[in-house]
């Protein structure tokens, strides 16, 4: 069995996080938002987003303060999944945390609090 032979350009593009992917790390990374909307407004707006054609999330599950959305299209790493969690600071002030494609991470800590 002969392994694939790499040329210099193959090697250059082999490196993980080839430069431009890092730019999209901003997209890949999790996001935390603050909002002065109520929890019900937040959830209904997320559902609105989920139903927008551009995002194709046919499966939406709601439970307590979390919303899970599962995409329709199978990507390279499986289906696109988003997990949104809403933390209440006051009834009119919430932090929304959005995670992609994961098993829920253990760290619930360190979300940004707006003074």
């Amino acid at each position: 069995m002969k392994p694939t032979s790499l040329n210099a350009f193959d090697i250059i593009s082999l490196f993980p996080d080839f430069v431009l992917s890092n730019l999209i790390k901003i997209c890949r990374s999790d996001a935390r938002f603050t909002t002065q909307n109520s929890a019900s407004t937040i959830i209904s707006r997320i559902e609105e987003v989920a139903s927008m054609g551009v995002l194709c999330f046919p499966q939406v599950k709601k439970k307590d303060g979390t919303v899970k959305m599962l995409g329709r299209k199978e990507g390279r790493k499986g289906k696109l999944a988003i997990h949104v969690e809403i933390f209440e600071i006051t009834p009119a002030f919430h932090v929304v945390e959005v995670k992609k494609n994961q098993e829920i991470l253990q760290n619930a800590g360190s979300f940004v609090i707006k003074a």
Partner: protein, 222 residues
């Protein structure tokens, strides 16, 4: 959205701002995706100086979370994003450059961009010395150690394959043929994660500020 006065207001704050409907018509992005790109652009362009433009420093920060880090390819990419050659990237530049990495962008555009990317000094040729520079720079970053001799062998092999007229450099048409025989070389010109720009659409719908992971890491609280 799209009314004249708000566009003018936007352009004052963000030089080079163009209507998302217009930019969507010029690129493979949908209007929502261009709006999402604008959110992303706003985040990147405000990190050092809030002037609505992405400077070299802000670009490096976005890529590496470290403004001091110099990188051959990152520098070259910045130059290529800087369509108007003014040392800064405006929103229109940003969208047009990101468009090349869209899965639906033309192979021709991807080919042209990749050629210019590797042509570090913009001479119109990918020279052996340039390829060697890139290899060495990337190897230095990684755990891979290659003897100088090995690097020369790799370069010999690459150039014997790609440099049809054996003049020590690869011109655009040689690059085109070479890529034609090795289509995987254009893989880097498509960003699979572009679909994740939806995150910025969420912001628009919920109407809130974005605190990104990146900002947290730099300890920016507001």
């Amino acid at each position: 959205m799209g009314c004249f006065s708000s566009k003018v207001a936007r352009q004052h704050q963000f030089p080079g701002y163009e209507d998302p409907v217009f930019l969507a018509s010029q690129t493979a992005f949908t209007v929502s995706e261009v709006q999402a790109l604008f959110e992303m652009f706003k985040t990147i362009s405000s990190t050092v100086v809030d002037d609505g433009l992405i400077s070299k420093e802000e670009f490096q920060l976005a890529l590496f979370e470290n403004r001091k880090k110099e990188d051959l390819l990152a520098n070259r990419i910045f130059d290529l994003f800087d369509l108007k050659q003014r040392g800064v990237i405006d929103f229109e530049d940003f969208v047009k450059a990101m468009n090349v990495f869209h899965p639906n962008a033309s192979q021709e555009d991807k080919l042209t961009f990749s050629f210019k990317l590797y042509d570090l000094d913009g001479s119109g040729y990918i020279e052996r010395q340039e390829v060697k520079q890139m290899l060495i720079a990337l190897l230095r970053e990684s755990d891979m150690k290659l003897a100088d001799e090995t690097i020369e062998i790799i370069l010999d092999k690459t150039f014997s394959e790609a440099d049809a007229n054996q003049d020590g450099k690869i011109d655009k048409s040689e690059w085109q043929s070479f890529v034609g025989r090795n289509p995987s070389l254009l893989k880097i010109m498509t960003l699979p994660y572009l679909r994740y720009i939806y995150i910025y659409i969420l912001n628009l719908i919920i109407d809130i500020r974005i605190y990104t992971h990146l900002k947290d890491r730099r300890g920016v609280l507001e």
